[in-house]
Amino acid sequence: MLSIIKSMTVVGITGNIVFVQVDVSNGLPYFEIVGLPDTIVREAKERVRIAIKNSGYDFFSKRIVVNLAPANIKKMGALFDLPIAIGILSSLGIIKNKDFDNYVIIGELSLDGKVKKVREALAICIELRKQGISNIIIPKENEDEVKFIDGINIYMASNLKEVADYFNGEKILNKVKTLEYSKVINNRNYDMDFSEVYGQEKAKRALEIAIAGGHNCLMIGTPGSGKTMLAQRVKTILPNLTLDEALEVTKINSLYGEENYEVAIERPFRNPHYTISESGLIGGGAYPKPGEVTLANSGILFLDELTEYKTNVLEMLRTPLEDKEITISRVKAQITYPTNFILIAAMNPCPCGYYGSLVKKCKCSERSRKRYVEKISGPLLDRFDLFVDVTSIEYSEFKKENNKNLSEKIRKKVIQARNLQLERYKKYNINLNSELKNSYINEFCALDLKSQDLLNKFYEKAKLSARAYNKIIKVARTIADLELKEKIEYKHIAEAIQYRKKEEIL
């Protein structure tokens, strides 16, 4: 007799429904699992057989064939133990109710019949929420990590017998109580603050603009001027994750193999060392795993000492930055991962690091300095909207003001500016100013005569490219949003010009 149970397997970051088809017939005792199982799934045979026996059911000597359909997707992990066992019990007639259609079942079985935690529980629940399947049975041990998932009924099972009784209508399974995500993450405290960086006011402002409008930002400056310190504090001005974003971040983390399967509460901040390889940055492997660009999705990718990265590795950033996603093709699979991050990078202006410094004299020749900055290719530089000098200055030059909670103040402005943008671009499938295509610039970034005049004057003086021209407008749009202004004004353009690329340096 045939029973069909739904379960799920995760490939990349998409979940695929797997139909666990169990057929029990008379004949010589036999148990086989087909449908591209990996070793863990194949070993389910013994776990299932003994777990059924130890749960108090007779394991009849029958001919059992389990097929995991569709047959062409590789099935991985121990989560199929429970659906296989339920399928067998149903085929044997022990479970009388055959209505499994509305349920997805996952769980690993231990030999005593207990249902054990599985790695993929959260990823699967997230996927079900998207696909609109209403009921899932998961191991009780997974309860904590799925507590934020709303919109579906998540039932918890602690042993096989409970599940069988549930389907027979003899017992009720407890549902996971959902918590509201936004309430939990609202009270966060960071152990750092922008006020801890003395001086470098312009760089702080540049980072504020970068986060508010999603602009990539390059900091150029002498060693020890605070570039790294500034970048680390960007975390503190990021807006909260929404539940959808958080679930995506979590899903990606779980694929990467991080052992902690909790829903993310912080935007990612990835800071890979410059020895990173191509596949480390982009993703790779026979079954491609996500790289740093994907792990930084909806957060920040910070590349310190940009010139020290291998050139071929850096060049790979071009497509993820442009398309906001990356497709990795390998023999066994082709997977598309999201790569929607803000790139913040820092570098020295020359090999000795002190070009332009007043504190220490630069020892580099013009030629060696040129060669040094030329490591960063033009196309990559083109993807930065904001350039800012971060040069160390004398201690007496800056104001030592203890402005506590500076980060919180900046963060509030950033959130306001982002909300304005979301509202404005609602119909256009855009979230932030940095994503504006040239065709939209005229529509959303109209300039008055005075600003146009200023920009043209500058355009001629500095011999700007058309691309640089548009960048200034986009940055000015963000500056206007930070001031909650509907129109770009004269002074917004003038400020945006300060963050352009300086030809004599790069």
Binding site: G199, K202, Y355, G356, T391, E397, H492, I497, Q498
Partner: protein, 239 residues
């Protein structure tokens, strides 16, 4: 430093001469033209073999801007180290005086200074701190009788002739005009900026204005040509 002098001299109509090499030479040509002046480049090579190759763009823009590129070599001749020194002879000969901003010990620049002395041209040197490797040569020249250059007015004092007077007039006019040109609201900011590189944090600490205001005013001053952006994100007065 060369940038500053090139700009100042060009803006009052003085023609600059240099060798179109990488570094200081390039700055002199570039900033002279940027300030609307004319410049002369003396090449150590034939005109078919422009050296250095990267500066071919500069070569064209010097000509396009009404400047002059000259050489004493046949069109196909290539540059070599002897020709560099020979070239310096012409550089100093063409100018009315020689300005040296930096020279390391026994550098090619000291050869130029020697030529200038032989040709009877005054030599101006910008002094450096003792820990600056690239200032050993210039400091030594000052010790040996070169004129210490602390500002453009030092040149006016030394070279007193009819043409110089015109330049001095221009200089006075320029600095007066520039002050009239300060955009409204930017006066305080302009006065805070010194004639040496001034950091934005210094301005911020003195001026009680948000950084966004300061940034936008800096752009306005820069567009008027009143201040110059320096390497490392510093600003200084143009005059």
């Amino acid at each position: 430093m060369s940038k500053k002098f090139a700009k100042e001299l060009a803006s009052i109509g003085i023609v600059t001469v240099s060798g179109m090499a990488l570094g200081v030479d390039t700055y002199v040509h570039k900033y002279t033209m940027e300030s609307g002046g004319k410049t002369i480049a003396v090449l150590p090579c034939g005109l078919n073999n422009i050296y250095p190759k990267n500066n071919i763009e500069l070569y064209h823009s010097i000509i396009d801007n009404g400047g002059l590129v000259i050489t004493e070599y046949e069109p196909d001749e290539k540059a070599d180290s002897n020709k560099f020194l020979e070239r310096n002879r012409l550089v100093s000969a063409l100018g009315e005086c020689l300005i040296i901003t930096e020279a390391a010990y026994r550098s090619g620049t000291s050869v130029t200074a020697r030529y200038a002395k032989e040709q009877g041209k005054p030599v101006f040197c910008v002094p450096s701190g003792l820990d600056n490797r690239c200032g050993i040569g210039t400091n030594k020249m000052i010790k040996n009788g070169a004129i210490l250059l602390s500002g453009i007015s030092d040149i006016f004092e030394e070279l007193k002739n009819q043409r110089m007077n015109e330049y001095v007039e221009n200089y006075k006019k320029n600095s007066k005009k520039s002050i009239e040109n300060i955009p409204t609201g930017c006066e305080k900011l302009y006065n805070l900026i010194r004639t040496e590189p001034t950091s934005i944090d210094y301005i911020f600490s003195k001026l009680r204005e948000p950084i966004s205001e300061i940034s936008y005013k800096l752009t306005l001053l820069e567009l008027e040509g009143l201040i110059t952006t320096m390497e490392g994100g510093f600003y200084e007065k143009s005059y």
